[in-house]
């Protein structure tokens, strides 16, 4: 099996915890994690629910390979209706929390209602109880983890919690585990905060004894690990340079969104790149990067652990930030850096530490700062409103605004709304670089056309992790396609979306897909899980999950009009680089995509499509 077959239902309103059996019929149709938890969610929650009302639910979920020896088998996801987007949300995190949840014997935790007072959930194998978190409210993620571990006198306890951002209603608050891994996007932490749920702490010692055919599974897992080790990307590139190695590549290609997407190349990109992180600083002779790091069971180890320059203005007399900690990864470095024109690596690391410490998404935060800086430069927001000068490129403003957002102070409250609501408030909604109110990640869709369709059609709002066509359009994985054309992108996006849904439902990291195809994953799932798990079935499961999420969003009120890009990307051509003169061709790709998906002209799945997928 590989599923524990145990679901924990936590009624926060009444303070009860109840075990129920996993719906194995659904497990055969949706596999686990993203797919299976979303099936539970859409079956139980009104699509029109206010994300921050007690009627919304929040599910923490593992996959069948979570906690197994499959490489990267440590993932868990949070499924809810997103506070930022109002769309289906599924945020995926690594670290060690997911595996520990599995070791405690749980596939999934469903949180319902709202606690009358702050609580945290304590799980010790099959034991589950809600405990008072009054003393934790107002604490950061880092403080919360330390206090809980001390209280249980066990350093092996794994904690997933919200920081002050989740308490203060920052609409893109994260749920952070293991200090610097996060279910980061769409405001899942905001939903958790609205439920007065501060943290989940878990200790599991049951192991994962439920693999269907252990011998076959170990052979399949070992074969998969060999593929990852032998592959130059997953075996060498990612462990050595991390995702940050993309900074110079994407800049060279003219697809690095800069200064709120005004430009597509950042003149200081190299200063905030992976190569810069390896260099020794003149101030202390040490490199920014300390080491790489791996999540549970991962044989890639792409994570970055860095030390900030103790003499940098942001941390003078703040020794709590001087230790080695997570970052910088590419997305955070871009959003905090190029997106607002800041080329100060140490300032980016400081802002990143604040995002980790208080639990908010650096992508949405950084991009919202970029929008605010544009509003400032246009004279729409004044210095008195922000409390400081905030032109593009101001590292001081970035660092100060990160702290204000974490604390919910002053202009930080407005930044906490996200760029869509903030720009609308100031009468310039078109300056929000977002889809479905979620900010773009680090690829400009004028220079990488397929990413425009990826963003526009992503079920959770603009996101690169729903269909990473960059792999094909830039790196040639699995085949090289031309980033500057729209032809063939509808099929490419659909293929990436469906395959990614399977990876996200299995309990493994999507980064394995730089070396693995579904054909490498299939033997591991088939050996671990009961039932028929052929390639054909996995492809169908991916497509079913995508359409299920789509159906939820349509019922929530989204329409084809929401599958669109901001006018800047459709009317303002790239100024430099290979894409000079180009805008994104979303209007050409979208109808092709709908047709490829088996949807009608309004983006609604046809009855034939729904019937074929058993929806």
């Amino acid at each position: 099996m590989a599923w524990t077959r145990n679901v924990l239902r936590v009624d926060l309103t009444n303070g009860t915890c109840k075990r129920e059996p996993l719906n194995m019929e659904w497990a055969q149709q949706y596999l686990g994690q993203r797919g299976l938890a979303t099936k539970y969610f859409v079956s139980e929650v009104d699509p029109k629910v206010d994300p921050l009302s007690p009627a919304n639910k929040l599910i923490m979920t593992t996959g069948p390979l979570t906690g197994t020896p499959a490489s990267t088998g440590g993932r868990y996801s949070v499924v809810t209706k997103g506070a930022l987007t109002g769309a289906i949300a599924c945020s995926n995190s690594g670290g060690y929390f997911g595996a520990e949840l599995k070791f405690a014997g749980w596939d999934m935790i469903i949180f319902e209602g709202r606690s009358p007072k702050p609580v945290y959930l304590w799980l010790e194998n099959g034991k589950a109880e809600l405990r008072d978190a009054g003393h934790l409210w107002g604490k950061t993620v880092w403080q919360t983890e330390e206090i809980i571990k001390k209280a249980h006198q066990d350093p092996q306890v794994r904690v997933s919690s919200i920081g002050r951002a989740g308490e203060n209603g920052v609409l893109y608050a994260c749920i952070v585990n293991d200090l610097h891994r996060a279910a980061g996007r769409s405001g899942v932490g905001t939903v958790m905060g609205s439920k007065n749920l501060k943290a989940v702490a878990v200790r599991g010692t049951l192991g994962t004894s439920s693999v269907r055919d252990p011998k076959a599974f170990m052979a399949a897992a070992a074969a998969g690990k060999k593929v990852l080790a032998d592959n130059a990307v997953t075996g060498q590139g990612l462990p050595t340079y991390g995702t940050q190695v993309l900074m110079n590549v994407i800049n060279e290609m003219g697809a690095l969104p800069t200064r709120n997407h005004r430009d597509v190349q950042f003149e200081e990109a190299r200063k905030i790149s992976a190569e810069a992180m390896h260099e020794k600083r003149p101030t202390d002779g040490k490199s920014h990067l300390v080491t790489n790091a791996a999540c549970f069971g991962c044989t890639i180890a792409c994570g970055r652990i860095s030390k900030i320059d103790e003499t940098h203005f942001s941390v003078v007399n703040k020794p709590e930030y001087w230790g080695a900690s997570g970052g910088l990864e590419y997305e955070a470095a871009w959003a905090l850096g190029a997106a607002n024109g800041v080329g100060d690596l140490e300032a980016l690391q400081f802002a990143n530490l604040i995002c980790n410490e208080d639990g908010f998404d650096p992508i949405s935060f950084g991009a919202t700062v970029g929008a605010a800086m544009e509003l400032y430069e246009l004279g729409i927001i004044k210095q008195e409103q922000i409390g400081m000068e905030a032109p593009f490129g101001s590292a001081k403003a970035l660092c100060e605004l990160a702290q204000m957002t974490a604390r919910g102070e002053g202009f930080g409250k407005e930044l906490g709304l996200g760029s869509a609501r903030m720009c609308a408030k100031y009468g310039r909604p078109e300056l929000s670089m977002s889809v479905k109110k979620q900010e773009f990640p680090a690829y400009d869709s004028r220079g990488i056309q397929g990413m425009g369709l990826t963003y526009a059609t992503s079920n959770r709002g603009a996101c690169h992790l729903r269909s990473y066509t960059v792999a094909s359009e830039v790196f040639g994985i699995p085949v090289k396609t031309d980033p500057l054309v729209t032809d063939g992108k509808a099929d490419l996006v659909k293929a990436f979306q469906d395959a990614t849904a399977v990876f996200d439902s299995a309990g493994i990291c999507v980064f394995t897909s730089f070396a693995w195809t579904l054909a490498d994953v299939q033997p591991q799932i088939a050996a671990a899980c009961e039932g028929d798990w052929s390639m054909e079935k996995l492809n169908e499961v991916g497509e079913r999950i995508w359409n299920m999420e789509r159906q939820f969003n349509l019922a929530a009120g989204f329409t084809a009009k929401d599958d669109d890009l901001p006018p800047r990307l459709k009317t303002e051509p790239a100024k430099t680089g290979p894409a000079k003169g180009l805008v994104n061709g979303i209007d050409k790709m979208k109808p092709e995509y709908y047709k490829t998906r088996g949807w009608d002209a309004n983006g609604v799945p046809t009855q034939d499509t729904l019937k074929r997928l058993g929806l």
Binding site: N231, Y241, L246, V249, E275, Y330, G476, D482, P578
Partner: protein, 84 residues
């Protein structure tokens, strides 16, 4: 002719020390020098020359022996990498 030459990630070790801080070097090349000739001049392992861009545009492996560089162009090369 003058051409800007950039090497990144593990390939930056093939640059002269003074060029590493910018990952960039200006080359003075004879007319009609090809991409492959530059790769060979710097003794770059062919397998490591995964992503080859001229002014940001991809040069497929099959064209590297025939693609001649032109005055003012930028040739940038990466080993196999990815991210997200």
């Amino acid at each position: 002719m003058k051409v800007t030459f950039k090497l990144f990630a593990m390939l930056q070790d093939y640059l002269p020390a003074e060029a590493k801080k910018d990952n960039s070097l200006t080359l003075d090349l004879a007319e009609e020098t090809t991409v492959l000739q530059v790769i060979e001049r710097f003794a770059l392992p062919p397998k490591s020359c995964h992503l080859v861009l001229i002014d940001g545009n991809f040069v497929p492996p099959a064209e590297r022996a025939s693609r001649q560089l032109r005055e003012g162009e930028t040739l940038a090369i990466w080993p196999p990498i990815a991210g997200g």
